[in-house]
Symmetry: C2
Subunit: 433 residues, 2 copies
């Protein structure tokens, strides 16, 4: 059974703190293994990648077959039924429309001294997306990673997707095609991350690597950070539903289960103003768990990390929500917009019970790559900005330099950086001649 | 002597590649030490921080004296001469004006299905700035880190600044006051980073840690990344000047030296269309090195990592510049704006020879915390956005769900995520009843 907490109980603070700090993942320490793999790929390039793929994925490749050929891609994509293709295309269209609005604007202005200031945004030149193999090979994640890159204007977009035993998900290749991916390499693990970061004879290096992966992939991304940009290291998925009594318990139960079914370490929490409704939702979860396909995953997740919290009012719900800083937050209350104004920290908010979180996973438009493990306190979901960078601009005139140069010189001297000061002074002296 | 390269020479490509890949820093592996320090601070809190400060900084503290008192701050600040104070205030005003323009906008719209979509930005609740001690204790860096946080709306802003032997730079405390910093702790190293990330009885944890530091600080930031947000791990400073012959060689020499004087590992590169001008700049550098206060730092930097590259034309200069992706780029040419359109990757650009890079370090307005070591390919200087995060919003209506729900359900089924599909289907069934 999941935890039942009542915010009015005397021991609530201790119980809630325990819930917040519950360790849901045993981080396997694979750092030494990963360091060795990265060093080997840097030293031996394609040969290393091919050997490691044979070892870990039981797949024999050559430099020529590292990437899928366009013929192979076409043959796989042909297997996709029409309704799946249409669904993927609708999702891509909506994700693209949303992300297109995220394109940042350049700025340039002249200040009172006559100095021109501003900034300019530009895309990274090349990005690599990691797509896990097997069960977690999600075409929706291909769209969510590749479309922001495409909208940003990234020139070269590649995917690394392991295909253990050579098996690939045709929908992943279709999603890659829809999202404008140039090349799909059938490699995975730390070796794929290393190849994208440092390049091999066959695989050109990229500037930014995004996408989910197992402990090896996460450790490799952490290690190549700095050489290339990376997205957040994602933890297990989470949902928080704030619901009043005016909801169908079964709908809320399904929303909670839609995170629980991802991973035994996923966490689903209901905060409600009505204890009876909370019990009804918990009962509905148990009923659905009897038949759910992934009950072997969702059941342990719900029992080990699930929680129902009864609060006095929605203000209390909002305060607790901010301490959780949930990845996904559903506001299933009469006036979700009013409640939203009280919420500070959340990755994605779903307003009203007509917006199940699953809409956001696939087709709402916003990105489904979101901050987990309370990191919504300081980070955001994936966006077009993750594939762009900003160059700041400054252009002084003689007049502007006359106005602000002496202060710069003074500060340089105070920091004992003489050449800094002299570089300004030399120009000021010319002006004063 | 620095390297002299001519882009027309047959061996240029090999020489330029060698210059690009020159390892300028021997990364000391301090990771095990740092891991132990972080674990100790997590376990023993204030006691650990106080012991480590006694050990590394020769400074005996108590929980009560971890932070400067307002009386101590006032006494230190009173030592600052008026002209220094005025210079710092002008810098703060200009940095604030620039960064205020970076505040991002919220968005919300209704699409053709009737779904409301959008996003909302908000500040992180608390940020911690690391300020190195000793020679690298720069008040300008306090402004450059704290003002963007202040403009973002961060509620609680703290500084950790080691004060070996108890010595503090009064200008650092003044800069902190000007930039609205709430508390300054006199601690440093990995123990300060750990205290800010995890909190102690005395030091409340923060959500984001920024600021430069030595190898221990950098390793600690890397380790706490995920628990809190961090800025980039900065490497040694770099400048690239692209100059035509119509420049004073001494000005350009001083600009090159203003990076070289930071650090023996700093890199200063001149690209010019005129070989004779290149030689004149190199001669001017040598002349300035005879008397420069920091010649013991700037000399080795220039001789070991400096370079003068002669190119055929400015298009070639732009192409080489993009391969370097410099932290600082000066365009000292007749039409710097025209050249700017050919540049893709740079942290900060300074247009015209009236804009020495030092202006950007202190008083231009743009941030001086910039991507080093070619990371301008994928990352940006510090900005207001680094202290904010975005929450995405989605609000479906029954009509909108009817329009897009079936596609979401189809994709959920294709990914074998049954509960996702059912959470949509349950609502669609209600609508179809």
């Amino acid at each position: 059974m999941p935890v039942f907490l009542n915010a009015a109980a005397p021991d609530f603070e201790a119980s809630f703190a325990a819930l917040l700090s519950a360790k849901r993942e045993d981080a396997v320490d694979v750092d030494d293994t990963v360091a060795a793999i990265i060093a080997d790929v840097r030293a031996r390039g394609d040969v290393s990648v091919i050997e490691l793929t044979a070892k870990f994925d039981k797949l024999e490749l050559t430099p020529e077959t590292l990437a899928f050929s366009s013929k192979e891609i076409a043959a796989e994509i042909a297997k996709v039924p029409n309704d799946e293709r249409a669904a993927l295309e609708l999702a891509a269209e909506r994700i693209r429309a949303y992300h297109t609005r995220q394109r940042p604007e350049d700025a340039r202005w002249t200040d009172a001294t006559g100095a021109e200031l501003g900034w300019r945004w530009g895309p990274v030149a090349a990005a690599g997306l990691y797509v896990p193999g097997g069960l977690a090979s999600y075409p929706s994640s291909v769209l969510m990673n590749a479309i922001p890159a495409q909208v940003a204007g990234v020139e070269r977009l590649v995917i690394c997707a392991p295909t253990p035993g050579g098996v690939v998900n045709p929908l992943v290749l279709l999603a890659a095609q829809i999202a404008g991916v140039d090349t799909v390499y059938r490699i995975g693990g730390a070796q794929a991350v290393a190849a994208m970061a440092y390049g091999t004879d066959t695989i050109a290096p990229v500037d930014k690597i995004t996408g989910p992966g197992n402990a090896f992939v996460a450790a490799a991304k952490r290690r190549v950070f700095g050489r290339v940009g990376i997205d957040m290291i994602a933890g297990p998925s989470e949902i928080l539903v704030i619901a009043d009594a005016d909801n169908d318990p079964d709908w809320i139960a399904l929303d909670l289960l839609s995170q629980a079914e991802h991973d035994e370490s996923a966490q689903s929490i209901l905060i409600t103003t009505d204890a009876e409704f909370g019990r009804a939702v918990a009962a509905a979860v148990e009923k659905r768990l009897e038949t759910l396909e992934r009950r072997a995953i969702a059941g342990p997740s719900w029992r080990d990390y699930g929680a129902v919290i009864v609060v006095q009012d929605l203000a209390q719900a909002a305060a607790l929500s901010d301490r959780i800083a949930p990845e996904h937050l559903e506001l299933c209350v009469a006036d979700p917009d009013a409640l939203l104004t009280q919420i500070k920290h959340a990755g994605a908010v779903f307003l009203s019970h007509w917006t199940p979180e699953a809409i956001g996973d696939y087709i709402g438009g916003p990105n489904h790559v979101l901050p987990t493990a309370r990191s919504a306190r300081f980070s955001s979901g994936l966006s077009v900005l993750d594939f762009m960078k900003r160059t700041t601009l400054a252009k002084m005139t003689p007049e502007a330099l006359r106005a602000v140069g002496p202060a710069a010189e003074r500060l340089a001297i105070s920091e004992s950086l003489e050449a800094h000061g002299l570089s300004v002074r030399a120009r000021l002296d010319r002006l004063n001649r």
